[in-house]
Amino acid sequence: MISTTVGSYPKVAERAYSTKLIGAISRWQRKELNDAQLEEAFRDVTRAVIREQEDAGVDLLTDGQIRWEDLVTPIAKRLDGFEINGLTRWFNNNTYYRRPVLTGAPRFRGPILAADYRFAQSCAKRPVKAVLPGPYTFAVVSEDKHFKQLRPFVLAMAEILNQEAAALVAAGAPVVQFDEPAIGFGLPGRQAGKTDIKLAVAALNIATQGLSATTAVYTYFGALNGALAPLMKANVDVLGIDLVSEPKTLAALKQTKITKALAVGCLDARNTKLETVKELHAVFKAVSKLVPADRLTVNPNCGLEFLPHPQALAKVKRLAEAVRTFNG
């Protein structure tokens, strides 16, 4: 069993790697810093969050998405066909993202994150995974003025994200993860359970096509209800499930034929309360009855940026500690 983080990590830390990124971004916006100077600020924080994960003992790292405004903007702003619109609530969190608006045919212009990936891996002693938004979530959280129907939009995003994923694999990523919160949550601002899971799986199959790396899909923020069985048939190696937002998913898993490696979200990355090692061991024990330990990853239920830095770090340390003592 190994530990990983899901994606985002706090960009500022008042008592660790400082809050200087806030000032750097404002100065860059006012053109008082050039691109290279801003990049240096991003790199400093990226180095720090990679070191924190390594020092804590996390096995599979992320770059903390320090440059990312949200899950979709970094990609949308570098594709043809998109404009970036105003703020919209990010699922049921009290945080906001900028809604991409598709106004023309979406098109991949060339690798987006490969250089960032290479930098992150160059400062890490342990493997760093690449994280992308999933095609279904990408389309669902965007406004579509071009296709005006979900299916062609989702499938077009799947093709584009497949090209981006291939570039990340070429840059050396051993694992490519697609984040699909919309699968579990339903559409933002609407009731859960309205997911077109067939479409989401078809899109995943396209997004992961031909990738010579481990592929993962992470669902979080919601219940998987009818989605578990179709996801087991998707062309993806690892299925990420969020047992914090919906503890009942554990019971549903017991009723499902599990054909994938599992990545289990078992710490609440949206609340500061720190889980005990004992609580975590109970979850580890329950899931290791369902899948052999060598096919198990454990992680916070979602990105850590919803937490202030001290609590995010405490959770990462607790996770690694629990894995160490569980593996024995």
Binding site: R15, T19, L87, N92, T95, P308
Partner: protein, 331 residues
């Protein structure tokens, strides 16, 4: 009929923004800051009187974030380090670490200060228990429900004290209600704890959000008046109320607070006339969509002025219209 009101927050003048930054850096003391907050409050009361707003607010010149303000004064909360809200914007999200209590009144002194400056009613302004819970971390209570109900008790004490001090209107804002429709029943229960037994008129303001799912439960919110944003979605929210006999008063936003553009008086009048096809005139209170603190002071004044002028014009139309009808009937 068609009384006008301000929703809650009003922009802080430049001198107060500067003073707040200086106070954070320890360059001025609490007493100096307080004097400027009082000055800004006096100015806003006077401005609202000049504009002719019927039911006014103190403008919350002494508050920052609507949840952080109460969490700083209630017991059981601890302030956190920075959390990102969006883009390059960060805030401190309160953490519930113990039993939530209200050691002493929070807003009552400010309410008294404001009310002493005017003969018009000043609304008591509170943040609702569901919103305080949803916008805080919870390390103490076993569930979101337990946390919400505990906060409701603290807010109830505050509402009682505002009423005792003489507040005729008590507004308990619940902007978070529309984001998790599945918890609407909890929000209703908690608000009921706050408003139970109050003789003052009670109101709540809710932001737009997922209206289709919360709409059908709106009439169960235990308040006399519900204040909603109508203008920023071109009044399409009226469609929901069409054909329903909505049993409560309605706070009707006729100008958008998220836009720098000042609506024309004619636009606000048109909005109001549209609303009169759905609501009875005595049911409607005319106001901006939401608090105006994100606008400049000048924009805020202009938007409030449009509300007052539109209400006056339509009020006159209604009075003339009804007297004409009477004449017809008599004749």
């Amino acid at each position: 009929m068609l009384l006008t009101t301000s929703v809650g927050s009003l922009p802080k003048p430049d001198y107060l923004m500067t003073a707040r930054a200086q106070a954070r850096k320890g360059q001025i003391d609490a007493k100096q800051l307080r004097a400027l907050e009082e000055q800004a409050t006096r100015e806003w009361i006077q401005k609202q009187e000049e504009l002719g707003i019927d039911i006014i607010v103190d403008g919350e010149q002494y508050r920052g974030d609507m949840v952080a303000y109460f969490s700083e004064h209630f017991g059981g909360f601890k302030q956190s380090e920075l959390v990102r809200s969006y883009g390059n914007r960060y805030y401190r999200k309160p953490i519930i670490v113990g039993k939530v209590t209200r050691p002493k009144p929070v807003t009552v002194e400010w309410w008294k200060f404001a009310q002493a400056l005017t003969t018009r009613p000043v609304k008591g302004m509170l943040t609702g228990p569901y919103t305080i819970m949803d916008w805080s971390f919870n390390e103490y209570y076993p569930s979101r429900r337990a946390a919400t109900l505990a906060i409701a008790e603290a807010v109830r004490q505050e509402a009682r004290d505002l009423e005792k001090a003489g507040a005729q209107y008590i507004q308990v804002d619940e902007p978070a209600v529309s984001t998790r429709p599945e918890e609407m029943d909890l929000a209703i229960e908690a608000l009921g704890i706050v408003t139970k037994g109050l003789k003052a008129k009670t109101l709540t303001h809710i932001c737009y959000g997922d209206f289709k799912t919360i709409g059908p439960k709106l009439h169960r919110l235990p308040v006399d008046q519900i204040d909603l944003e109508f203008a920023n979605r071109d009044m399409e929210l009226l469609q929901f109320f069409k054909g329903r006999k909505f049993p409560k008063e309605i706070g009707l936003g006729v100008v958008d607070v998220h836009s720098h553009r000042i609506e024309s008086r004619d636009q606000a009048i048109a909005n109001l006339r549209m609303a009169l096809k759905v609501f009875r005139p005595e049911q409607i209170y005319v106001d901006p969509d939401c608090g105006l603190k994100t606008r400049s002071p000048e924009e805020a004044v202009n938007k409030l002025r449009i509300c007052v002028e539109a209400a006056e014009v339509v009020r006159k139309e209604l009075l003339n219209g009804s007297s004409n009808k009477r004449k017809v009937r008599v004749g």
